[in-house]
């Protein structure tokens, strides 16, 4: 009897799992892996506590996004329009679309860099990836798409293996995780902000909420959805931890500096063995694929939410033209920019990261406000204690963004 109950509960969990895992793991995209790699290579184990902080922030806000999606049945941008009007909603959507297109470029750039490590030209890998991710969403049912994306995310295990192979100092790693120390340099502030910003991304928040709606989760699923959110966030943190550890144990030890994740994969080979470098590269490609599938999806959900047209992966093209057109256009622009010969890709990627960081502030404030709204959330509205937690987390992000802005201007 107890076994039957446990089985039923596990089956129910399997039904609910998805939004938290996918939204969390897709935050470990090439930009994220690059940030974690630089964090480990430049600062060793010292700043690992930032990952712990990011993971807590991820649990808090992804949990709120899931709750708002389940209770209101609407995505984040739809709610922003409903409560703050078409002007605010339109401004947030415009910034989100621009930032998402830029981030999609980063994902395709990650795919290009990852495949080039194996000698495959970007002119083959990027168009092929664009076609594959488009077909995945256009042709697949919701369940098939979700299962394939979850299967794809198992590639992140490569980072964990890579971390073990690097032979880290576990004592120093644990110390760095739980004892916060901070070198007061502009460079360190920038990487701390970037780590927070890359983990808690605007598109991840809007995707989390829209996906919970599209999955038709119900109030009785909320408890299990919390498990999904926490699992996704913790796995995101754990993967980040192993990327930092792999780079700290090798690149930082030997005083090597890197500029991106592909650099890290290359640099790992002679230090931790060919297998570690290869696994790191495979992880990069898988992460880029996952995020390149989810970024256009998140954008399509947001555009449809704002425009007020129906949007669901199960819908045929004839019933959800705006949804599929948005998905296709974002994918096409992202892939084209990466392949265009004279496009300033680095400027676009840096600009995108800045836009994401800046956009995060109004989005978090809007979420806190929407979560407190009793007309929308009823008995699930955030109370005083919850508001304090959400407010404090938002404040940390605001301080980080302002500090980054100030240090950028000063340097």
């Amino acid at each position: 009897m107890i076994l039957q109950k446990r089985r039923a509960r596990f089956a129910a969990l399997l039904v609910v799992v998805g939004p938290g895992l996918l939204a969390g793991l897709s935050d470990d995209d090439p930009a994220g892996i690059t940030t974690y790699s630089v964090l480990g290579a430049d600062h060793g184990y010292q700043l690992l506590w930032v990952l712990l902080l990011s993971t807590v922030a991820l649990v808090i806000f992804h949990g709120l996004a899931a709750r708002m999606g389940v209770v209101t049945g609407q995505g984040l941008i739809g709610l922003v329009r409903q409560r703050y009007g078409v002007g605010v909603g339109g401004a947030v959507l415009a910034a989100l679309v621009v930032a998402n297109i830029g981030t999609t470029c980063a994902e395709f750039a990650g795919i290009a860099a990852g495949f080039e490590l194996f000698g495959i030209s970007r002119y083959i890998s990027v168009p092929a990836a664009a076609v594959i991710v488009s077909l995945l969403v256009l042709r697949g049912s919701f369940h098939r798409v979700e299962r394939l994306l979850l299967l794809l995310s198992t590639v992140f295990l490569a980072y964990i293996a890579s971390g073990f192979m690097a032979g880290p100092d576990w004592g120093a790693a644990l110390h760095g995780t739980f004892v916060p120390t901070m070198p007061m340099t502009g460079e360190a502030i920038a990487i701390v902000t970037a780590t927070l910003g890359t983990t808690l991304a605007p598109w991840g928040l809007s995707f989390m909420q829209s996906y919970a709606v599209d999955k038709k989760l119900r109030i009785e699923d909320l408890k299990l959805e919390r498990v999904d959110v926490i699992t996704g966030a913790v796995l995101t943190g754990v993967i980040g931890f192993f990327v930092v550890v792999a780079c700290a144990a090798t690149l930082h030890r030997d005083g090597l500096h890197i500029t991106d994740a592909a650099d890290a994969a290359r640099a790992l080979e002679p230090l931790a063995g060919k297998a570690a470098g290869t696994l790191f590269a495979i992880g990069l490609i898988g992460a880029a694929f996952l995020a390149a599938s989810i970024l256009p999806l998140s954008t399509a959900y947001s555009v449809c939410e704002y425009a007020g047209v129906e949007a669901a992966i199960d819908d045929p093209y004839t019933e959800a033209r705006t949804f599929y057109m948005t998905y296709g256009i974002v994918t096409l622009i992202g892939a084209t920019i990466v392949l265009a010969p004279d496009v300033p890709l680095v400027t676009i990627l840096v600009g995108t990261q800045v836009l994401n960081a800046v956009l995060l502030v109004p989005l978090l404030l809007a979420m806190v406000g929407l979560g407190r709204d009793r007309d929308l959330m009823g008995s699930f509205a955030t109370g005083r204690a919850g508001t304090l937690v959400y407010g404090s987390t938002t404040l940390v992000v605001v301080v980080c963004v302002i500090t980054l802005g100030v240090t950028t201007v000063l340097t």
Binding site: T72, Q82, G378
Partner: protein
């Protein structure tokens, strides 16, 4: 846009003046009562917000005229004091909704077009006796562009689907929590006029709890027909979500040859992994109370 039509987004936000021209506040919202009375649906009351003073909820009868940028009342500052409210929620009648809060920018189901849409504006027309009659909800993206000040670009004439798109007030089901519950309690609402096919289309677009409430509001015979007209997975989802006795009553209202397969289907263990294949797009349930009597 029809000639002589007023828009909710145009009317609200205007200054509200007394007969002496003194500004009393700003028009924040309008209410309608979705009561069972025959005839057109008209604006019932005005919600006027004031700085550092309680909100006013005034009957439409005190409106002298609606000008191009202001609303003039027949009563002055001293008289309106009697219409102050501490809580807007408690001031509303059980069948009264706020058009900005419960309708504008919320999602609706167009029961004729069988689609989900978001309200971009609410349309009125001025009647001979000076009241505002509710015409419908504008749902096209063209209205969004107009509100953003981009209407002059004329995109509605170039891009299909951006033009005027209005759903008649009698043909929509509100999905805001209060709107849904008030319409369920109002016999003249669209949800009570739908045939089995229309009802099936509506319940397929709302969440399980809302769908079961809609079916429970109709007689078992009609509910049984709607269950049969819907996708079998939608029907099963709704019947399983109902109390056993209610589900049994609906199944019993079916013809014997249909009732037996349904009883058999419901007797089987629910298919966990198949739960999501239903075409229900929105609104897991929010339980808000319709608060107290009108003050």
């Amino acid at each position: 846009m029809l000639h002589g039509v007023l828009l909710l987004t145009g009317v609200t936000g205007r200054d509200v003046l007394g007969p002496d021209g003194r500004v009393l506040g700003r028009l924040a919202d309008l209410t309608v009562r979705l009561s069972d009375q025959a005839g057109p649906q008209v604006v019932e009351r005005l919600v006027v917000t004031r700085r550092r003073s309680p909100t006013l909820v005034l009957p439409w009868a005190v409106v002298a005229n609606v000008g191009s940028d202001q609303v003039v009342l027949t009563v002055g500052a001293a008289e309106v004091a009697g219409f102050e409210v501490d809580s807007l929620a408690q001031a509303l009648a059980s069948d009264e909704i706020l058009l900005r809060r419960d309708v504008l920018d919320t999602q609706i189901v167009d029961v004729v077009g069988q689609r989900l849409a978001r309200v971009a504006d609410v349309l009125f027309v001025s009647t001979a006796d000076g009241r505002l009659e509710l015409l419908g909800a504008e749902v096209g993206f063209g209205a969004v562009l107009r509100r953003l000040g981009l209407g002059r670009l004329g995109l509605g004439r170039v891009i299909p689907g951006l033009g005027d798109d209005v759903v008649a007030w009698s043909d929509l089901h509100l999905t805001s929590d209060r709107g849904h519950l008030v319409q369920l309690a109002t016999p003249r609402a669209a949800v009570h006029r739908l045939d089995a096919a229309g009802l099936a289309a509506l319940v397929s677009r709302v969440d399980t709890d809302a769908a079961t409430e809609i079916l429970a509001a109709r007689d078992p015979g009609m509910a049984a027909e709607a269950v049969r007209a819907a996708h079998p997975d939608v029907g099963e989802r709704m019947l399983r979500a109902m109390p056993d006795a209610t589900a049994a009553r609906i199944v019993a209202a079916m013809a014997a040859e249909h009732a037996e397969p349904w009883r058999h289907r419901l007797a089987l263990a629910p298919r966990l992994f198949g739960r999501r294949v239903v075409r229900s797009r929105v609104w897991p349930h929010r339980r808000h109370l319709i608060r107290g009597p009108r003050r």
